[in-house]
Symmetry: C2
Subunit: 407 residues, 2 copies
Amino acid sequence: MTGPSDPDPWQGSFATRTAGLSASEVRALFAVASRPEVVSLAGGMPFVSALPMDLLTGAIDRTMRERGAEALQYGSGQGTPDLRQRIVDVMALEGISSSADDIVVTTGSQHALELLAKLFLDPGDIVLAEGPTYVTALVVFRSYQAEVRHVAMDAHGLVPAELRGCLDSLAAAGRLPKLLYTVPTFNNPAGVTLAAERRREILAIAAEFGVLVVEDNPYGLLYFDAPPPNPLRSIDADGVVYLGTFSKTLAPGVRVGWALAPPSIRDKLILANEAAVLSPSSFTQIIVNEYLASADWKSQIATFRGVYRERRDALLAALQEHVPDLSWTVPDGGFYVWLTLPDGVDSKEMLPRAVRQLVAYTPGTAFFADGSGGRNIRLSFSYPTPEFIREGIRRLAVVIRSEQAQR
Amino acid sequence: MTGPSDPDPWQGSFATRTAGLSASEVRALFAVASRPEVVSLAGGMPFVSALPMDLLTGAIDRTMRERGAEALQYGSGQGTPDLRQRIVDVMALEGISSSADDIVVTTGSQHALELLAKLFLDPGDIVLAEGPTYVTALVVFRSYQAEVRHVAMDAHGLVPAELRGCLDSLAAAGRLPKLLYTVPTFNNPAGVTLAAERRREILAIAAEFGVLVVEDNPYGLLYFDAPPPNPLRSIDADGVVYLGTFSKTLAPGVRVGWALAPPSIRDKLILANEAAVLSPSSFTQIIVNEYLASADWKSQIATFRGVYRERRDALLAALQEHVPDLSWTVPDGGFYVWLTLPDGVDSKEMLPRAVRQLVAYTPGTAFFADGSGGRNIRLSFSYPTPEFIREGIRRLAVVIRSEQAQR
């Protein structure tokens, strides 16, 4: 890093938008929390060790043997046709009816979000998002100089009356938002799911105001008991861009995600994808395709469900044991629990003291554009074993009690 | 595609910058030229079949066996430390002294260019580039609403006096450019190389005017006889961002490229990379690292040199045989020859007629922002065999003679 005695010679050259590009709170945490003695409930890493390595290796060997020259070459800016056809099948599991023609494969679904922001957001544009929302979505929107307004959630997700109220007052000010960004199912970070009956209502309100809905659904197949309500995209094909990914159901290291979009948006996504990366990796796309073609991937997802259910149960039981006086969300799937701290305890100020007690989490403020979340923390149960989760919550409880004692 | 009877409902929602994002001429060509009966001298695909598939498969197997969980997981936004260290060695071959700390791994070097454009370009900013220049760089700059001004080249690359003249007049108008984008070695599309004695001069002029140089060097190691002059970055570490890639020396399908940048720019590149893709693929980075660790990759690059030298020779001999009255550049490396057509023959108008004669090329206009290049075509010799190259030029000569006869 450049110190104050070493001024940045390029400071005057950066674009205006670059001023908004700062390190997220989650990013700084990754370094701290990666020490082995720290129980990290901070990151949202999937537990890839639960994958069948032999099946993956088989898919890779077959890729190299049968489609090596194709896998090593440039591909299409839209993604390989056979993988797009398989993605149609993956989304059909959640009730989405789609065509491979309307899918654009991206470098993780994060890149689909980046490309959408580039395509839609002028400086000063407004994006609506749940409060709290996915931290790196906030970074992306800010990097295109957009302003995020939060819409309140409750235990059943986004509140339709809040969305209408927000749109009414923005419309009155002549500042209708471009996008409604939402993680309706097993929300990151809140852990809650938008109720089925609210889904049509939210879509109707967005359509009424002409706001495009961006539905980010990385966790939908990772439910613990019953499947969640079908995605927004299964109800409305014209008003929703759906973002999916293999990062949580397979592996983030391959960076294969996708957008399913209405035709005019799809066409521009392909052009933006080509400008950004020429084509997504043929190599990892073909490997994912070969894995889906040969492995019993639905059983593999069921295995992941079992792993994460056990970890969620361990987290909830430990919270009940150590901090029964606090409140938290109870997720039916996904990776996260949203905890509310006692009055007067600040989640961000507490963090360095938690790390000294060898436990890490993400402060709630990371998930808001407006400084909210000071009394909340996100606890991720996807990566540590149940034993580590229990020990982590035991340590966290000690830190919280000590904070309370000092008030 | 959406037809005129089906108006785009989101037309009013797109950002201003999206208007500039249109399909490139090269893109439309790929579909046409992929028919097997067409000899394509259009695309710039490397000949990946010359790679040692057994060594690659070995690197992949070892990756899965020894570093499987790491390869499948999220990684660092800067790229894996061991690959960055190997990239230092790769660049040392061309005389660049660098530290792994200053390297940011990207999803191909294309993505490094996209991230730099995002970091530096406000609407209306000016970028200088050779005329002609790399087509997808033009797309990227236009997508951030920047204006490209071309600086003339001759057989020895960018002309220093032209660069100074251009900067003088821009300075007088108070419109200094943000970036000088250059492909100094085996230029795409012109095939020429910036002379050694001009390199210091170009850097001095850029420094005098405070313009950041972006040096794109995908072909530098693919020389045919003597090595080219060392890269600009080997002379000036403070004023140059260097872009490198494994797409031409190994394989584009893995999408692994990099930027080597001064510290303040590197820091922002990492943040922009994280916003765009969270982290580049751990999987493909580790495979590339394992390949470099185990294979004799310098010999492999020498093999590529031999393959491409033979193809260049075939192309030059065929031009000499069939169109000796025309002029063309003679590349000492890389993938491209730049041909000047007879007076009155239009490269873009001729293209559909060439495709009917089963030969494809890229019209020169694709490589200019200002409509120049109508009398030029780019001939790529990297992918077709020498036999196909000879047949392609035979067909092209028939088309050119027929065009001439009609004038």
